[in-house]
Symmetry: C3
Subunit: 289 residues, 3 copies
């Protein structure tokens, strides 16, 4: 399932790489998520555990936070996808990450790597992240600082939040396609760098309040994983980002302060449908052959 | 406190095992919870920790998430009840579970076992759960898959969510009365299998949105524990399930999407009172001598 | 930054220790928090991790829950402040606490110690807390039971909630000024015992529902830490408590049940501004030279 997709497997011929065709596939992906309710194993941080599970349930998937090394191998084998997030790793979680990533690679279970805080200040997790790359994540997703640093461009990062503009980073991110099918960079606009399509897709929308709610990025990583269980990686990334961008936009119309915004955000993650995707999705194709 | 209750200790004569008598006892249990605000030790998972604490506070109890092996023995001794949940166990938490369960058994502190994910895929926790049974939980609660599998009927389970109907399982659950006073099975309707009453009580209500909010089952286990601190096991189980069923029903009248439903659900867990229990509780007695 | 402040560093002459002057400094502190968005390292419990991060983001700070011993030293060095909370410690977290507290002391990073559950029943964490005092926390904050017991007056405590009135405890808390610049005691009214000012400041406001939401006290500790990154300790404590007291008061005007109260509370933590501080802050100076 994490094999390189081709345009043909998507029924997208090269000349058809247009936004309306992509949106049809996003709608199909969303529908498949509702129908299949894939089991998504999440090894995530203490801040995101509850939130990511609620987002996955709201979106239509079946989350399971199995993060111990003693059950990692057997559970990854039955999972539709795996999400690994380096936010607050423990020694036992790191062991589980290594086992599950290896198992996912061996059994072709698609998986997402979210290298939270990657950079020289947080060396332990950065070394772990480097090692996990050998198991070929389907998608690497992060903010601009994390992706840029992971791409070998050392930048100053302030903790786990991003100090770079995501638009500046997607060119650098190309080198990471050696390890993964897609690189997803979140920010004011999001950028999805696709190996199969040799294209960058920009997703607009959301709200400036989204980063004011903790773990939205982590939950987005889990949602990408959920979509990889039902559709090829590039569409999975676009679908997850469109899902969040629309929910963020509609939530902000309802509420302009963070507490009630977050409640409305979860509501709109849950109440997305094909019509809303068609009406509100805002995509641009930045580069294609 | 976790000794077998008799109908007499409830002032329920056998011929009086009717729903209105049971509801009187549920109302008394709810009142006792408000008055006594029992201290409930929870050893629970990373997804449920915040949510279960908020539910217990909203319901009237005093939660304390003491889950390390170094303080487990002394803390269980002063607790009114103990809730053990196998959702995302760590090695240190498992040690705490074993110490606290043993302490609860020795000191007659009532305790609830929630065997999340029990089944062949998650062997480590299933073995731990099997071992914990020797300390005679007051109540075992889970979804239909978990209870069925624990009862020795191996079924295919999808992660930690249930693939069986709870109504099919309560007959199987009888064998678990060898280990516990009550078995509580949650689902569209809930079923409480009582050893002391030799009866099965069905609790209706709630909302289809409840399983769309993560950790509602885990929080229900903690709430059962809270009630066991103030009332015998069968009434404790019924009271906790009625508490959740009414809150779910009223929350759904307020909101039909998961984010705002969950907010309304916590509100209604907090605002339950005797009148609402009398008006909305929906019970059936399925089997009695 | 955690050096003893003098009234002069605040431009408060002794005769000027009046509430309107203090409020000017609180408003300056709040403004500085918005402008500087300090990075706050939190080593906190499983219940509070998500909530404290959301409160810090809502208030204007940048939270980072780095709680492993392998990255503690390097991360504390770049942090604006550190918050240590003993709610549900693991062995690895305790190691991180010791390293980060020592690093904060050495590098003059202000830090807050929240001795959750301190007392004879929870001996392990109490011993750890005693050891952490050698690294001279900038602020010790807790409920009345915790502060009283830490001050050497053994009281009966019910789990992690307080059984004493905070007003009774601030006299006892003076002895803790040997270890810290300020002692902050939360309760129906809050009391801040300041070494530099030789004064006790009482902060009124909030709502009786605040302790019905789990981890509000833990999040308050994290918020105090955030303020210590931008202002001297006494003003930091007052500012954080005023911030919470106003948010609690305004949230209760919006909602009287705990779920929706909590949503409104986060909203009002986010929407605080200078005018609201001036209008709603309710302070009293209880003792000064």
């Amino acid at each position: 399932m994490n094999h390189p997709e081709s345009l043909n497997t998507l029924n997208i011929e090269h000349t058809q790489l247009d936004t309306s065709t992509i949106l049809e596939h996003v709608i199909q992906a969303w529908t498949a998520l509702q129908t299949q309710q894939p089991l998504v194993q999440c090894i995530t941080n203490s801040v995101a555990a509850n939130y990511a599970a609620n987002i996955l349930l709201a979106a239509g998937a079946s989350p399971a936070m199995i993060d111990n090394p003693f059950e990692a191998e057997s559970f990854t084998q039955i999972s539709g996808a795996l999400s690994i997030n380096l936010g607050t790793p423990t020694t036992e979680q790191v062991q589980a990450m290594q086992i599950s990533a290896k198992t996912a690679h061996t059994h072709q279970v698609p998986w997402v790597l979210d290298p939270v805080g990657y950079g020289p200040v947080l060396k332990w997790r950065s070394d772990i992240t480097d090692e996990l790359l050998q198991f070929k994540p389907t998608v690497i997703r992060g903010n601009a600082s994390e992706i840029s640093t992971l791409a070998g461009n050392q930048v100053e990062s302030k903790g786990v939040d991003s100090t770079l503009n995501s638009a500046d980073v997607y060119a650098q991110a190309q080198v990471l396609l050696e390890h993964a099918e897609c690189i997803a960079i979140s920010g004011e606009s999001d950028f999805i760098v696709s190996k199969a399509w040799d294209a960058v897709i920009q997703v607009n929308g959301g709200s400036y309040l989204q980063p004011k709610v903790t773990a939205t990025g982590c939950a987005l990583g889990a949602l990408i994983a959920a979509y990889t269980a039902v559709t090829p990686p590039t569409i999975a990334c676009i679908a997850a980002h469109v899902h969040f961008a629309i929910a963020g936009k509609l939530a902000f119309e309802k509420s302009q302060s963070v507490g009630s915004f977050n409640v409305a955000f979860i509501d709109h993650v849950h109440s997305l449908n094909a019509d809303r995707i068609a009406e509100y999705a805002d995509l641009q194709i930045l580069k294609s052959r």
